[in-house]
């Protein structure tokens, strides 16, 4: 396959390191996690706070908590969230589909759109249209995504009243859900597509100069077959890692847009978990993200090796 043992070892070590970091960081932050659970007025009842501490496992010395933490990871038990009052795993599982519904179309559509338009733009000469379109993409990519989102929300939902103002749905029917998803997906797709466009364009422009293109032309291959059969595949290589990472960081990517559109997905879950010092939930989420990133990375490597024959020989 092309994987050597050191690579695998390195990945595992990296995972170990990250999981440890995941454990340490919330605990190093200032502020007592119980603060938000107690409430406005606590008559000095140390008993109640201690009981809660014991229940949450916070009374143990740090090293013991660490061992428990690993034990839990192995059994995939992420513990309970005391702010959401349910099992962390259940909570995360309930949110994932919604964010997936947002991000998967975005990554796929943004990927295809961006790569196709980028290829065309990179291949064709410097026409006015081409430059104008490139500039447009540049501007879209440079604008802070939430700004775009708010602008869309304001124009389409408030002023034109075409779309709802919040939530994943109102009545739960499929058209209703699609209606709610439309704007967020639009904004994020524009953002991802513009990035992919710029990348692809740059890549194609580089490929254009390479020898094999001239050679293919001399062999009589030209037009769409040349562009999409040969150039595209080579130019797309660097994109593979990028798009794989997009999948890996799916949840963080959705965060700002979820906040603007009031969508109760994974993004907002992360945000709220951080602000309320919900350790178990934070850990659970970070773990899930890390796993996804590692898997995505692995997938990227596999794709890369498959697609690039030069690497296979190594």
């Amino acid at each position: 396959m092309g994987f050597n043992k050191t690579r695998l070892l390195r990945v595992l070590l990296a995972l170990f390191f990250i999981f440890t970091l995941n454990f340490l960081i919330p605990r190093m932050m200032p502020g007592d996690p119980l603060v938000f659970l107690m409430g406005e007025d606590v008559v000095l009842d140390p008993g109640a706070m201690d009981e809660l501490r014991v229940e949450m496992g916070l009374d143990q010395p740090l090293w013991r908590q660490y061992i428990r933490y690993w034990g839990r990871i192995v059994t995939l038990d992420f513990g309970y969230s005391y702010h959401y009052n349910q099992k962390v795993s259940a909570l995360i599982l309930s949110r994932i589909p919604w964010t997936l519904g947002l991000m998967l179309p975005v990554i796929l559509l943004g990927g295809i759109l961006g790569m196709v338009t980028g290829t065309l733009s990179g291949w064709k000469g410097d026409s006015r249209l081409n430059r104008g379109f490139t500039t447009l993409n540049l501007v879209i990519y440079s604008t802070p995504p939430y700004f775009l989102a708010l602008a869309c929300l304001y124009v389409f939902s408030v002023r034109l009243e075409l779309f709802p103002l919040k939530g994943f749905m109102d009545s739960g029917t499929l058209p209703d859900i699609l209606h709610h998803y439309f704007l967020p997906v639009l904004v994020l797709t524009a953002f991802f597509a513009s990035r992919n466009f710029l990348l692809m364009r740059g890549s194609v422009r580089q490929e254009k100069k390479k020898w094999y293109v001239l050679r293919a032309r001399s062999m009589g291959i030209h037009g769409p077959r040349l562009v999409f059969g040969h150039v595209f595949v080579n130019a797309a290589l660097p994109m593979v890692t990028m798009i794989a990472l997009d999948f890996g960081f799916l949840f963080s990517g959705a965060l700002l847009v979820e906040i603007v559109f009031s969508m109760n997905g994974m993004g907002i879950l992360i945000y709220e978990a951080v602000l309320s010092r919900d350790y178990p939930l934070l850990q659970g989420i970070f773990l899930v993200i890390t796993l996804m990133v590692v898997l995505a990375n692995l997938a990227a490597e596999i794709c890369y090796h498959r697609l690039d024959p030069r690497l296979r020989i190594q």
Partner: protein
């Protein structure tokens, strides 16, 4: 050449922004901490009106250039320095060091940036410099990766071999031979990191998480939305900061892209990962 022209034009624009940042104190018509009548619409005294506390928005915008650009630049500097060091070391040294460094890069690449940033910003409320360091620590891995692969490539070149034969010391080779040849890539990456950092800072400030005393453009957007800017349709408050961010980022990115094209060994993954 087209790219060359774009590069010069981009550099020129960036210089203009930097000048604004440096001379902000003199350019701004009012002291941004001086209070006037709040919620005034644009007029002759206040070209962009005043905000909820009565601060002149234009002055705040101009002074904000300093913060936003400073954070972007400092982050890019930190990230590039660390990335260069790590990438060069990994690319040029033996297997062992390379493995360790690449492992380290992998670890850092796996950290989800935005959640991490939220975590750190929320709890530490960092000032401009601290924020730049934090951002730099999250953004160095992509640079290191590129520097490493570029170094690996250059290592095989003939002139490097001859330098080795001539007995030049390692640092001398690294800094004298390899570094100059990978500079175009590094420069391009520097600019991209600059752009990313600005957007990241703006995003965090927009969520209200950063240090409220850091009056960046992102923070202005947060205040504008929170203090009734949207409800009252105060476009002169909401739009300028957003436009400024976009404008600077476009300039930086366009320059970076032009650099990438005129650079010698164009590499993959130059754009912000």
């Amino acid at each position: 050449m087209k790219a060359q022209k774009r590069k010069t034009r981009g550099a020129f624009l960036m210089l203009a922004w930097l000048l604004v940042a440096v001379f902000a104190g003199m350019i701004a018509p009012h002291d941004p901490s001086r209070r006037f009548e709040p919620y005034s619409p644009p007029g002759s005294r206040h070209l962009l009106g005043t905000n909820d506390m009565g601060y002149d928005i234009l002055s705040e915008l101009i002074m904000g250039t300093r913060i936003s650009l400073l954070v972007g630049l400092a982050t890019a500097a930190v990230a590039t320095l660390v990335g260069l060091a790590a990438g060069l070391a990994a690319g040029y040294s033996g297997r062992f060091l390379d493995e360790i460094l690449t492992g380290l890069i992998d670890v850092f690449l796996m950290i989800p940036r935005i959640p991490m940033l939220i975590l750190l910003s929320a709890f530490m409320q960092p000032g401009a410099l601290t924020l730049s360091i934090l951002l730099g620590l999250l953004w160095w891995p992509p640079i290191a990766r590129i520097v490493r692969s570029a170094t690996l490539q250059e290592k095989k070149a003939a002139f490097v071999e001859s330098a080795v034969c001539l007995g030049f010391s390692r640092p001398r080779i690294l800094l004298g031979e390899i570094l100059p040849n990978i500079m175009p890539v590094v420069k391009a990456k520097f600019l991209m990191t600059f752009a990313s950092a600005m957007i990241a800072e703006a995003s965090i400030s927009f969520l209200g998480l950063g240090n409220p005393l850091l009056r960046s453009w992102g923070r202005m957007l947060y205040t504008a939305f929170n203090k009734g800017g949207l409800i009252h349709g105060m476009y002169w408050w909401i739009l300028p900061p957003g436009f400024c961010i976009a404008a600077v980022v476009v300039t930086v990115m366009a320059t970076g892209m032009a650099l990438e094209e005129t650079g010698r060994s164009p590499k993959r993954e130059v754009l912000r990962p």
